[in-house]
């Protein structure tokens, strides 16, 4: 069943919201009162419900099946967290209410901040960044501010491994850093010797993901941190994969200076089809002074420090990341997650995530190729397409064939350093039975590919709301909005 666009089925005179007559008043809109119609379609409530329910049926989510998207951490989204975020005391308060009327909200943010600090072993955290990339930006801004405060504004180079998320170089470049690549070695990790070789006096920082995007813990991380610090630079850690080590190891203990935390990955706030995220960034002693506005100060009650507010000695906020206090709704969910799991549950979750990934690795290693050898991985298992050579099946084909088996594909072609990468992250939310079924399916597909049953892959998916979509066409002549069909427009004249 096809579902039309609202513009095709809606009518401007229909509304799904009943509103009373406005009071009769003298307008204060002046000559700016709207003259032209907006041309917005309306639907009654039953039509709206059906339209969006039917659209939802064309989607795949964690609740509908295994979603092994490496680096994206599609773990269970508990409905308790949704319920908590909808408590009026959190959801129905305004960011600019008098501080005396939102003490509980400030307490919640402060509590979450404390938990994040404890879990990372870091002394400070900026809560306001709105997503992972925004947290990266805040972290790199803090580094820049620190350098400037030390009069070392000349440090312009940021070292980034080739395997890094694209956000890392993009973020560095955004605020004027120059990006210099660091290689990874055959074991998939960055070696301290390569870092040292790159460490010139104008290096501001290194941006390293750990566990890295190949799913491997950087085993020389402590040495790398030391080398960086010895060179007067800072260590930014991309926290996208923090979920592998929560409760097992603390970035602060490893020498990290700044790390953003994707609450929607590590602490399970829902991905919601692409957001909202939340990206608090924890900061080491060396950067703690630069936490941006606004921040919370606990004392007798909680106060909110905004621009112009009284600063304590040494506090040098570098500015502001966004209009208000950050993603409160996500804070509530993340704290509910932490309280629910507890110190014990979070550690167990990390272990189970790693165990699940290794179980998949070990169960597929005989059929699919591992670019860095059959060594233990962290929370995700990275395969390449070496094993598909000469089968006529590509990583993309393989991924699309998974759809027909009822699975969301893994992350494809990332990290870029691995050819035809397939990055599988099951998370701790999957049961062994679920993994066994998934493994069996992947083995069946792999054998099928090796047997040359190309048809099963080339035109897959066959059983999805859509067959393969023409992305080239979309990009060549972008149609980014609905417009009234010409014939219709003419007929109306």
């Amino acid at each position: 069943i096809e579902e039309a666009l609202i513009f095709e089925i809606g009518r401007p005179e229909v509304t799904g919201v009943d509103l009373p007559e406005p009071k009769k008043v003298k307008s204060r809109l002046g000559k700016l009162a709207r003259k032209e119609p907006i041309d917005l379609p309306g639907l009654s409530e039953p039509e709206t419900m059906r339209h969006y329910v039917r659209l939802s049926q064309k989607n795949f989510g964690i609740d509908t099946g295994l979603f092994p998207l490496g680096s994206c951490t599609m773990k269970h989204n508990a409905r308790l967290n949704e319920k908590m975020a909808r408590l009026p005391g959190f959801g129905d308060i305004h960011p600019l209410q008098p501080v005396s009327t939102v003490q509980g909200a400030l307490e919640l943010i402060d509590r979450l901040a404390d938990y994040l600090k404890e879990l990372t072993g870091m002394p400070a955290v900026a809560m306001s960044p709105k997503a992972g990339a925004h947290g990266e930006l805040a972290g790199m801004m803090a580094i820049k501010a620190a350098l400037e405060a030390k009069g070392e504004g000349h440090r312009k180079i940021v070292l980034v491994p080739e395997s890094a998320h694209g956000t890392n170089p993009a973020t560095a470049a955004l605020i004027g850093f120059e990006v210099k690549a660091v290689p990874a070695q055959a074991d998939g990790t960055v070696h301290v010797s390569d870092v040292k070789a790159a460490l010139t006096p104008d290096v501001a920082a290194i941006m390293l993901t750990n566990p890295n995007t190949c799913g491997i813990f950087e085993k020389e991380i402590v040495e790398i941190a030391k080398a960086i610090h010895d060179a007067g630079a800072y260590f930014y850690c991309d926290g996208a994969n923090f979920n592998a080590i929560v409760g097992k190891a603390r970035p602060g203990d490893l020498g990290v200076d700044a790390m953003h935390i994707n609450l929607h990955k590590t602490f399970s706030t829902p991905h919601g089809g692409g957001g909202p995220g939340a990206g608090p960034v924890v900061l080491s002693e060396r950067l703690a002074a630069f936490v941006p506005y606004p921040f919370i100060r606990a004392g007798k009650g909680f106060s909110l420090v905004e621009e112009g507010g009284k600063l304590e000695k040494g506090e040098m906020p570098f500015g502001r990341m966004s209009a208000f206090h950050g993603q409160m709704g996500m804070f509530v969910r993340a704290l509910a997650y932490m309280l629910s799991h507890g110190a014990d549950g979070m550690k167990q979750a990390s272990e189970d995530a790693v165990l699940n990934a290794n179980y998949i690795r070990a169960s597929l290693a005989d059929l699919m190729s591992l670019p860095f050898g059959n060594q233990p991985c962290m929370h995700e298992a990275l395969f390449d397409d070496e094993w598909l050579k000469n089968t006529g099946v590509s990583t993309l084909d393989f991924a699309k064939a998974m759809i027909d088996e009822g699975y969301h594909p893994m992350t494809m072609y990332f990290p870029l350093v691995v050819h035809g990468a397939m990055l599988i992250e099951p998370t701790e939310s999957e049961s062994k039975a679920s993994l066994d079924l998934f493994i069996a399916t992947l083995r069946d597909l792999a054998l099928s590919a090796k047997r040359g049953q190309v048809e099963r892959f080339k035109n897959a998916p066959f059983h999805a709301p859509r067959r393969r979509l023409d992305e080239t066409r979309a990009a060549r002549n972008p149609v980014l909005r609905w417009t009234r069909p010409q014939a219709y427009a003419e007929a109306a004249e």
């Binding site: 609202i6 513009f7 229909v14 799904g16 406005p22 008043v25 204060r28 700016l32 907006i38 969006y52 964690i62 599609m74 408590l87 009026p88 129905d92 308060i93 305004h94 209410q97 008098p98 909200a105 709105k130 992972g132 990339a133 925004h134 801004m141 993009a170 605020i175 990006v179 402590v222 080590i245 190891a249 089809g273 692409g274 957001g275 909202p276 209009a323 208000f324 409160m328 709704g329 309280l339 629910s340 799991h341 110190a343 167990q348 790693v354 179980y359 233990p376 962290m378 759809i403 969301h408 701790e428 062994k432 709301p465 023409d470 992305e471 066409r473 979309a474 990009a475 149609v479 980014l480």
Partner: protein, 451 residues
Amino acid sequence: MRYLPLTPQDRTDMLAKIGVAAVDDLFANVPKSKLLKGLVDLPKAKGELDVERIMGAMAAENITASEVPFFVGAGAYKHHVPASVDHLIQRSEFLTSYTPYQPEIAQGTLQYLFEFQTQVALLTGMEVANASMYDGSTGAAEAVLMAHRVTKRRKAILAGNLHPHYRDTIETLSRMAGDELVSLEPNPADASADLKAVAAAIDAETSCIVIQTPDVFGNLHDLTAIAKKAQDAGALLIAVVTEVVSLGAVTPPGAMGADIVVAEGQSIGVGLNFGGPYVGLFATKQKYVRQMPGRLCGETVDAEGRRGFVLTLSTREQHIRREKATSNICTNSGLMCLAFTIHMTLLGETGLRRLAAINHANACDLADRLADVDGVEVLNGSFFNEFAIRVPGDAAKVVEKMAKKGVLAGVPAARLWPKHKALKDILLVANTEVNTDDDRAAFVAALGASL
């Protein structure tokens, strides 16, 4: 642990399959000394009932917008969201899905993004819109960067009546990026002076001017002339809207010549949430589309020729372009887009215009009532649903006193401009469809008793 399906036996079996003796063998890359021996110093796992008690107690410490006469605005507004909106966005297939990288099984997300983009373009009067930004303020900062890319200049001029938090957000990014910025002084009493000051500041280096309408004091601005002036000078006009409901009643920036429109979409479908998550609307002209930040959804066809939607123009984005990307954004506000789109679909033309009319009428009613209060002056010549008043004395103290009387009266200008002593007696007051006559009477009474 209710969220963890593995049993001890499962773990044992799996370790055997993997061929290691203990789970810590899988953490062998972590330096031994850095592997935590015990647990971090946080409480142990709790059941739902306990979590609800703890969080419920914190929630109960806040005064909610629904339980008192509520007039706080300045960039976030209390509106009524239909129950069906919140129901729909919680459906598993929307809530627990990811960015639609696999379009064959994400048409639900993609189609609503396409609907969203179209609605935003229509509302703002622009040609195209993206699939959302984090919020209005970060969208404004991205707009400035985009203008720099388009014009290949690096100087922005911010109107004085731009929301100070937007100004600060832009300033922080500009400073860090090494761009030039001119921030003008606020002017609550003579709003047209603000536009004149902007016009006067435009020069050949100017990449863009950033003007908010309704501005932070609530004044409406005709941007037609200044748009032309900017464009003649090779600069772009970035129009900022923090109350998107206003677009149901006023001429949209697109119709006045804006090059980029950035808006905070929170008013439609999204609650107050103490500041987030919100949803930034971002619209521009077709010719600038490849310089636009953020995700874009485009129409295409599938292998059988059926219409379908995909994320497109991703060659602008960080995961392809890396350090050459148009922005570092990867997450947008997907679920809030959905809330916005559903609410807007429910409203439709008729509903949105009615909603805007009610907001305006209620605000006019309050303004009329306040004009009768001794010593209080309404400053605005024009406004939509928010305006500024001058009170005798310290507006922040008045707000505190009124809060004690059970009325949340608005935002004292001093909260937004702590260093501008001249604004100390100014209070921003918003009035939406949720405010009743009784609420307004309570406002007047509490104000009278707090002066």
